[in-house]
């Protein structure tokens, strides 16, 4: 099954890095969407949900303008139709307090930057299961 992924980060370079890493990791992708902050991310999730396709996995940064990563995760948990979408936080802040707080808010996983491409694939497999992983060819 091919993944539909949303990347939420205010840095275009980081969005491109994650997109490229996902494409090179061997994960089967059918669509990759991008948003520059949490509010834009919610809008993409709602739009895709309404169109019936939905999003399988969200990557989000923490430090963003308008709506940061913690507010984004909190908002998702309050939306009944969106709360089951797994969120993987990818950020430079790897303090235990931050990671625990994000888990309490509803994030399903955490990757601290710097991160190797293999770590991103591993975390996706942990969250979604190995069926999503396609062999590189």
């Amino acid at each position: 099954m091919a993944l539909r992924v949303l990347i939420v980060d205010d840095a275009p370079a980081m969005r491109l890095y994650i997109r490229r890493t996902l494409q090179m990791s061997g994960l089967a992708l059918s669509a990759v969407f991008e948003a520059g902050d949490g509010k834009e991310g919610i809008a993409v999730l709602e739009r895709e949900h309404l169109q019936g396709a939905g999003i399988d996995l969200v990557f989000t940064d923490i430090n963003m303008p308008v709506m940061n990563g913690e507010e984004f995760v909190t908002q998702l948990q309050q939306e009944e139709r969106l709360r089951e979408v797994p969120v993987l936080v990818i950020s430079t802040d790897a303090t235990k307090t931050r990671v625990l707080r994000l888990r309490e808010l509803g994030a399903r996983g955490y990757i601290s930057k710097p991160c190797a491409p293999e770590m991103i694939r591993l975390k996706v497999e942990q969250i979604l299961g190995r069926d999503y992983a396609a062999a590189l060819c």
Binding site: A11, P12, Y17, N63, P65, T92, D93, T97, K113, P114
Partner: protein, 154 residues
């Protein structure tokens, strides 16, 4: 006052970020030499149990090489100014966050939005309490950290 081993941890943080995400090795973590001429400099401020700022400065050629590596640009393609600034900002953010995570493992911290500096008056040597020059396999880089521990017990 700087925390113990801050110099080692700062170089380690930079080495990890550059190696893992920019495919660049740090050949020497404490080079003695002149600061780069007309550098690209990024500043990141942090606040938490400690506060301070990190400056990273590098020649334009180094910034372009790191940008090309990070974005996976085709060999020989020169990144745009916007791409370079965006990637250098991200580099500063990651090195500062990685360094702080080594020292503030229990305490929350906040990073400012990274800022590319243009003014010569703000060059890192003038604000630093810790200063390291790195030799990279594709250039060089200067790290300058100023640090103020707000809560000595933290």
């Amino acid at each position: 006052m700087l925390p113990r081993c801050a110099d080692v941890d700062l170089v380690d943080a930079a080495s990890e970020v550059l190696g893992m995400m920019f495919f660049t090795d740090v050949m020497n973590g404490n080079v003695i030499g002149d600061p780069p001429d007309k550098p690209v400099t990024v500043k990141v401020e942090f606040q938490g149990a400690s506060s301070g700022m990190l400056h990273m400065s590098m020649p334009r050629e180094t910034a372009e090489a790191l940008t090309a590596n990070f974005l996976g640009l085709p060999m020989g393609e020169v990144p745009s100014e916007e791409q370079m600034n965006d990637v250098v900002n991200e580099l500063g953010n990651m090195v500062c966050g990685s360094f702080l995570s080594k020292h503030e493992s229990e305490e929350l911290f906040d990073l400012s939005k990274p800022e590319i500096l243009a003014a010569a008056a703000e060059l890192p040597a003038q604000v630093a309490t810790l200063h390291r020059s790195l030799e990279l396999d594709n250039g060089k880089m200067v790290l300058a950290l100023s640090w103020d521990r707000l809560n000595p017990a933290a």
